[in-house]
Symmetry: C2
Subunit: 314 residues, 2 copies
Amino acid sequence: MQKTIAIIGAGLIGRSWAMVYARIGHEVALYDAFPEALDKSMLLLDDNLADLEANGLIDGASAVRSRIHRADTLEAALEGASWVQENALERLEVKRDLFTRMDAIAPPATIIASSTSAIPCHEITDGMAGAARMLVAHPANPPYLLPIVELSGADTTSAETLAGARTFLENAGMAVISINKPVKGFVLNRLQVALLTEAFKLIEDGVVSGADLDKTLKHGLGLRWSFMGPMETIDLNAPGGIRDYLERFGPAFEEIAREQTEFRPWTSEKYARLEQDRRTVMPASGLAERTTWRDRRLMALTRHKMDAAKEIGE
Amino acid sequence: MQKTIAIIGAGLIGRSWAMVYARIGHEVALYDAFPEALDKSMLLLDDNLADLEANGLIDGASAVRSRIHRADTLEAALEGASWVQENALERLEVKRDLFTRMDAIAPPATIIASSTSAIPCHEITDGMAGAARMLVAHPANPPYLLPIVELSGADTTSAETLAGARTFLENAGMAVISINKPVKGFVLNRLQVALLTEAFKLIEDGVVSGADLDKTLKHGLGLRWSFMGPMETIDLNAPGGIRDYLERFGPAFEEIAREQTEFRPWTSEKYARLEQDRRTVMPASGLAERTTWRDRRLMALTRHKMDAAKEIGE
């Protein structure tokens, strides 16, 4: 069923959401407080959609493009919208101001979702008249290539809003997870930080180079995780399942876990050293081209996963 | 150049190594101290090789099979071998006994590698006459589907042995990383433990279900890691590269990292709870079938990565 969607904030995240919703048939209004940012975003859409079509991920870039409309005011963007996706700056006061204004404009049935990666829902929505229809729908970057969405509400978010949001996002082809308690950084970034913290230590201590560490994921750990995740991986890695696995490896793993409780500050000196390590693998001048490569690889991987799910199951 | 390889220990790891070496043309002798284990392993080879052929990962299962020979004694297995891959029980005294015997039998130029996942090289080889030609080559499970190998020596391992081992394994199609200092669990398992520790906490605290946590990897984090690894991922996730990324997200990530220093024991109660969570997703009766599914998905992913590397680059 076709809906009208408002995207507020037209950077990479907003532009990506516009494609996510338009490619399954919704009409999308894209708005940004900075008209130049909006101009740029509308132009970039053509490249992104052409890439998606070339990789067999959408039929007809022009049809998708025709459903994405430029909105020049917040009011125009929200007109008739059943879903609003906010992607403004990651600053609490900016988001609260925007949510207050949107709450006054949008019809009562409209769901208002923030893409924030760090601010708990209640901090944004506390005290607002329409708090029941507000929630956080945090995507990965960029949402048109990575389907994961972390959904979380405040205590004031209604069960109806949470259920409606899940259905809406799943119908849009996203993989939705529920964050059931307020937690810093939600789940995706907490898992990423846990792994990065250990990665940084191993590189800084000279145990392994950054290039070799990346190999460990791309030719090892990351392969199974890319279609199963870590829990199913260990469940299938011992004949008796996860408990059997943990009984075998738990004692050794617990010793490692104990070593990993050491805290090391995240300093600019650390960042400089890590950058130096990366630049031995790839010069800064190669970043832009490699980002295009990454997106192509992601699209090919998405295509592969769709085919494999059809042939082998999921 | 065809070589003769000895595989000592014919469980899943040993059998996998036999296929890795035979599929690129080496002659392989497979030995196990338990004749029944060896019988079983020789039979299972046929199924595994048929699967590899069906997935386009080898040409001619029967030709590969014909290069894998049953050896009835340790002496017979090591005859003429230029590389020995040991895959016995993960017990120090078993490995030291075996290495001492192999050191006496094998010609001086033979490299002797252990597949151990946990025992530092020097603990196995200390005091042995041929310590210079001994090292650890730790694969992921199973090595015929996951190319990563963690290479590490003791202080007594010669530079020639390390360099020769790397060349040999890379020629066999493996992705070799160097572990430059002795560290518990090497790199792959340390990274896995760091992520699992946080995953277990999030599930136990009711923040997220195990099923949703797996989704976070398979529809998010794991996708980029499966062809780039975590360091390149963050290097490409901000316009100015890794340093730019860390300056943007470092303050928030440091707060998360500080929370993650809490240690929780790995207890059988924890294992029981985690098993209970997994069994809501899949009954124990489904494990065997799902393991076959996993291997097929891994083979299809390997095929995809070979194609993508050819078309888009690597």
